[in-house]
């Protein structure tokens, strides 16, 4: 099996935790911090750091609201994030025939 060339992939998404965040958000319209934490099972600090990186890159957007008087931050993929994620998936898919050969 040929080695998978990770260098051709978007580094920002290829990190396992950020990939998990992007995948979890790609499955829904939006998700709040606690739902993402459940999905990817990260600590608050770690998740917050990776969310910030994705937000700074413009891949996700945060929307702060109040729900039952409690602050809730909801995250959603931006159009840029959706495009980057789709491109990442395309690159992965393009590798499949090579690795199966």
């Amino acid at each position: 099996m040929s080695e998978f060339d990770h260098t051709s992939l978007d580094d920002l998404i290829h990190s396992r935790l950020r990939l998990a965040i992007m995948a979890a958000l790609a499955g829904v319209e939006r998700a709040d911090f606690s739902a993402l934490k459940r999905q990817v099972n990260a600590t608050d600090g770690n998740l917050g750091m990776h969310l910030r990186k994705l937000e700074e890159a413009g891949y996700i957007q945060a929307d702060k609201q109040f729900q039952d008087r409690k602050p809730v931050t909801r995250y959603a993929l931006t159009d840029t994030g959706k495009q980057a994620f789709a491109a990442y998936l395309d690159q992965l898919a393009a590798w499949l025939p090579k690795t199966r050969a």
Binding site: M1, F4, H6, H14, S15, R16, L17, L19, A20, A23, A24, L25, A26, G27, V28, E29, R30, A31, D32, F33, S34, A35, L36, R38, Q39, V40, N41, A42, Q67, D68, L89, L92, A93, W95, L96, T99
Partner: protein, 215 residues
């Protein structure tokens, strides 16, 4: 327990294979979406409320109770909608996510509720729909709602429940009468309460699994 690891396999990100990543992505996308499209507890609660209504209606029909349809169905419908609004708020907080499919499924059931109410009023109030057609009509509407819910959620067996409702509507149209009330109650239990319980269990398991993911 079915868990996902957000750690790179063997701690080496460079050695990951695309198959692993794609499987990981697919699983996470499906899991985050699925919890938003189940909602079986609504089926259970509404199913049981309607069961009570059917039982009371049947007893009234058999002259064992002196209750008007409005007295029977009014409080039950109010109780059902009160539960729905309360549960929706709670679900939003517990699930913490919204999906387009979940939103569309919500609309399907909203449409079902409105259509059912109009049909009920058309019978009870305007008296333009014969009462003997009600069971068949509700079974037809239920079939449509279950079929759409199953299709949107990607749950094949739930889509088939919709088809079973449509099939069940045929004898309800053919053999009308007071016996359709207990017959509909049995159908409701088998084709709504039990599927709802199954979905609610899956939802609970999914939320519990997420909470217990091990890295």
């Amino acid at each position: 327990m079915n868990t996902l690891s957000t750690n790179p396999p063997r701690g080496d990100a460079e050695k990951r294979q695309p198959e692993q990543d794609l499987a990981f992505i697919r699983q996470l996308m499906e899991r985050s979406r699925r919890v938003t499209v189940l909602g079986g507890h609504y089926f259970v609660v509404w199913g049981l409320l309607v069961e009570v209504g059917l039982l009371l209606s049947w007893l009234s029909f058999e002259r064992q109770l002196a209750l008007t349809p409005a007295l029977i169905w009014g409080p039950l419908i109010v109780a059902g909608y009160a539960y729905t609004f309360w549960a929706q708020r709670r679900d939003r907080a517990v699930e913490g996510a919204e999906s387009r499919d979940g939103y569309l499924i919500g609309l399907v059931w909203l449409c079902f509720g409105i259509c059912s109410l109009i049909v009920l009023l058309a019978d009870l109030w305007f008296q333009v729909i014969p009462s003997r057609a009600l069971a068949g009509l509700f079974a037809t509407l239920s079939g449509a709602a279950f079929f759409l819910h199953g299709s949107l959620a990607g749950i094949g067996w739930l889509r088939n429940v919709g088809i079973l409702w449509w099939l069940a509507a045929i004898p309800l149209y053919l053999w009308t009468g007071a016996h359709t009330l207990p017959a509909y109650a049995v159908l409701l239990f088998g084709l709504q309460v039990i599927p709802g319980w199954v979905l609610a269990q899956e939802r609970r398991r999914l939320l519990a699994t997420e909470a217990g993911v091990s890295l």
